[in-house]
Structure formats: C-alpha cells, structure tokens
C-alpha cells in the first residue's frame, strides 16, 4: 500500500472516535475476518457476485488501521487477513508481471468472492433449516410410547461421546500423571547442598568427601551411588560459590574438601 494513497486515519473529533471505536468493539460480535468481510460486503448493497473485492480490501485495511490507531488488539486471524488483502490489493492494482509465477490477482479475488458467497449461502441455509417445523416445537411425537410390556430386559446404553470420554479420561490420566520418581533411594543435590552448607563451617582441615555422606546411605550400593553423586555435585557448587576447596591426589584417589577462608571477609 505504498503507491496508492490511502486516506490517513487520524480520528480527531470525539464523534469520529466513537464511531471508529464502535466499529472495532463490534469485532467481538464477528466470527472471524471472513464474517467481518461479509458484513462489510453487505454495505456495498450488491449481489455478492458483483462485489468489488478491491473496495472491500480497502475497507478492511482502513478498519485494521483504525483498530491500530486506537491501539486495539486484533486477533492474529484479522491481521493475517489484512496482510493478505494488502497483497491482493497490490496484485489487483499493478499490471501483471510476466516473470511472476504466482496466481493472478483476479483469481485470488474471485476465490475470496466465492468464499464470501459460500459463507453467505450457508448462513441462509442455516436460517432456512432452523425455520422449519421442528420436532418438539411444531411437530410432536407420541406422548405415551407403549413400547413396553412383559419381559424385562436390561439394555445398556452408551453413546459414542461416553466412549470417547472414557478413552480420553484414560489417556489424559496417562499424559498428566505427575512424574514421580521412586525417591526412596535418591539423595538429591539440594539435600546434599543443604547438608554440606551446614557442615562446611567446621571443615578447616582437608576431609574426605566420602565422610560427608549421610548416615545409612553407604550400605546399599544404589543409595551410596546416589548420595556420592549428589554430595560431589554439591561440593562443586560450594567451590563455585567460593566457600570450599577440593583436591585429589591422583586419578581415582579420594577427593578431599575443606573450607575456604574468605580473604575479603
């Protein structure tokens, strides 16, 4: 929309502002951009087949501009439609580029007109349908059905909706079951960190990291592994914080830790 000058939208008067706002607020009443376009098309007061898509595109873009000027958030659908209509408008206005492989503006416009016509047709069909004589309102079924007698038989009823709900219940349960690990044998880093923080203040001497393991965590190999890993990770965290030092004499030798004296504190 560069070359053709769209009137600049600067609503000044209160009345103009209100009018613009009314239009925008109405967006809530529309079911998407196509519905809004259809409504705008009605103001052209012509057969939908003879509608000017170009005029409609302009009208829609003006509308979106107004909404923007009023800083009203439009749903993404409306903006996508605006971008597309801007594109369509340029296609309709510019002479076709022979190099361009894309569809002709006329084809696109025709399709939009078709969409509008089809939506309108469905609206009318819906109205016709609902205007019919309906069961339970204009037409009535037998008031005292007699389909009953003698032998009792239990018939189980279930609708497809019941079935789907049952299935989705199971599936949802699976998807959203909170992930809970078997925590009996897991010593978390948070736990280890808390434990070390409490103890590090007293560790002025190099002490083997192993000796920091919590009680009762060294007999079961699984628990021992978890506690060792957590304690080691926690010790690294303390080093990072500048509160401890680690050393190891050689490969696979025991790791030792001691408090780090803070020079600045």
């Amino acid at each position: 929309m560069t070359e053709d000058s769209e009137p600049e939208i600067v609503p000044i008067s209160v009345a103009a502002r209100l009018a613009a706002e009314a239009l925008v607020v109405d967006v809530d009443g529309f079911e998407g951009p196509l519905d809004l376009l259809l409504n705008m098309a009605r103001t052209q007061k012509v057969d939908l087949r003879q509608i000017s898509i170009l005029a409609l595109a302009r009208q829609y873009l003006v509308f979106v501009e107004k909404a923007r000027a009023l800083r009203i958030e439009l749903a993404a659908d409306y903006l996508v439609m605006a971008a597309w209509l801007a594109f369509l408008k340029s296609r309709l206005l510019l002479p076709p580029d022979p190099q361009d492989e894309g569809p002709l503006g006329e084809d696109l416009a025709a399709h939009l007109a078709f969409q509008l016509e089809r939506l309108q047709a469905m609206r009318e069909a819906s109205a016709q349908l609902w205007a019919r004589d309906r069961l339970g309102r204009d037409i009535f079924a037998r008031g005292i059905p007699e389909d009953v007698t003698r032998h009792r038989r239990v018939e189980y009823t279930a609708t497809l909706v019941d079935l789907m709900q049952a299935y989705s219940r199971i599936r949802t349960r699976d998807e959203f079951r909170p992930f809970v690990m078997d925590r009996d044998k897991v010593f978390t880093m948070e736990e280890a960190l808390e434990r070390l923080r409490g103890m590090i203040g007293f560790a002025g001497q190099w002490t083997e990291l192993q000796s920091y393991l919590p009680e009762g965590w060294d007999d079961d190999p699984v628990k021992w592994r978890s506690a060792t890993a957590a304690t080691f990770a926690a010790s690294l965290e303390l080093v990072k914080e500048g509160r401890a030092e680690l050393r190891q004499q050689g490969m696979f030798a025991p790791i030792q830790m001691r408090r780090r004296e803070r020079r600045d504190g």
Partner: protein, 219 residues
Amino acid sequence: MAERDDTGPRESLFAAPSMGEQERMVEAVLFASAEPVTVAELAARMPHGCDPAEALAHLRKRYEGRGVRLVRVGDAWAMRTAPDLGFLMSRETVEHRKLSRAAMETLAIIAYHQPVTRAEIEEIRGVSVSRGTVDLLLELEWVRFGRRRMTPGRPVTFVVTEAFLDHFGLESARDLPGLAELRAAGLLEARALPTGAPAREDEDAEESPDTGQSELFED
C-alpha cells in the same frame, strides 16, 4: 381430506373451526400428550367455540376397528393400541442402564487398541479388569475374542464387533476419532492442547463438558 366434513371455512377469524378441523385438533393433542386429556383441558387448548366432546365422539368412531383406539381413562381420554394387537408390542421391556465406568473404559481400550489382551487392558487402565466387566461386554456382543497372541501363554485378544460399530454409529473401527480429534471436540481438557488454545475458543465455553480435572487423577 375427503373424509373430513369441512362445514366451515378454516380461515374464518371468529367462527369456530369446522368439526373436521376440531377432530384433527383432538387427534393431535391426544396423540402427543403424555397423559390422558380431559374434555375441559381440550376445550381450554382449542380455539374458542369448539366442541371437543363432539369432536371426540367423531374421532372415536373413526378409529373403531383400527390399529389404535380412543379409550376413556377416568374422565379423561387417551389413544391406545388395539388390544388384539398387543402381541406386536410384547417385545421385552427395555430397561436402559448406563455402562459402568470400568466397562466403558475397558470397551474404549478394546476399541482403540484392538486386538488387545487382558493384560494390556490392565496395563493401560492401571487397574485389574474384573471378569464380570469383560463378560458383560461379551454378552452385549460389543466385544468378541480375536486371535490368540503368539507370545508366551498365547493369551486371547479382544476385538470389537459389528454390533459395536452399529450401536455407536461407526462405519469402521478406524473411524474412531484420534486423540487430536478428541481434543478438537473438546473431550480432552484444555491443558492437553499441545498448541495452546486459540483465543476465540472461549466464546462458547459454557457448552464444553465439564470433565472435572479432579477426576483425571482419581485413581
């Protein structure tokens, strides 16, 4: 039409409808009413100037010997099928009962996962499946035995039947909606939506079923 005696013009604004017309009215009211209807009630419903008692008499005559009769019940009137045709109506009484939740879930799993073994059903449901549940589904003929699984123990599998498809209005088991479609139909809660619900979806939120989140974690 020829049988009705159209003595008065139907479209007259003030005159009472013709007796033929009145007969039609009584016929429709008695047919649709859930209770026997008294003459007074008929008079109250019908346009001013009608004579429901006379219309009833005509109507009763019309139905003489037919498959349906006009009968008096206390001081009210009702339509009933002719007694000699009772045998046509003597199909079993049908008592409608909802399937239990366990049965419904088991059925759903069989439908979606068929052929499926009992162990697999239990794994998916997370609880054991009682014999009665499967028996009921077999009895309803919604489920039947499929091929045995070629695994140790050669367990039987379950599959759904034609009767199942019939009952649920499906053309084939493959037409069962998938998870994405269940979501689209609003049968899964919003939190299950992978892409984030579009903003406009709440417009008729009141129509969506309340699945009750609490239910999801019940067992």
